[in-house]
Symmetry: C2
């Protein structure tokens, strides 16, 4: 693998990983009272646009990181909508 | 401006904007007890790597979004180190 690709995938792994604690906490506690709905709507929209952008520029790290990040942030968003 | 560039910059604006409420709250309250130090170390490192990656692939949205995101997340990280 090319060094630049490894750099991009590492960057993506780290920023994606930053979403995990909130997902684990939300799925475990099933409580989302203190979570901002607006914030996750904005974040999910932004990540979805990054994914579309990544597909346009055909950039593997941008596509990979934002696919997983979108799944994680949508999990938090749907939990918020479900548990309120 | 090209439509793809506008798409990338919009994506970047949204995911960067998602950091703002925490920055405002932290600077206002000067309290960071409930913030995870490890999480912000990982996030700042990831964003810094995205910035370096963006410079390598010469992608304006990746560079712009991660420059501002890095400044915002470092503000939270340094506040955490200062206020504990």
């Amino acid at each position: 693998m090319e060094p630049i690709l490894i750099l991009g995938l590492t960057a993506g792994a780290l920023t994606t990983f930053a979403l995990l604690p909130q997902v684990i906490k939300t799925l475990k506690l099933k409580e989302t009272k203190d979570i901002s709905l607006l914030m996750y709507i904005i974040l999910c929209t932004g990540i979805a646009l990054w994914l579309i952008y990544g597909l346009f520029i055909e950039d593997i790290p941008v596509i990979a990181a934002n696919t997983i990040s979108l799944a994680l942030s949508l999990t938090i968003l749907f939990s918020k909508i479900r548990y309120g």
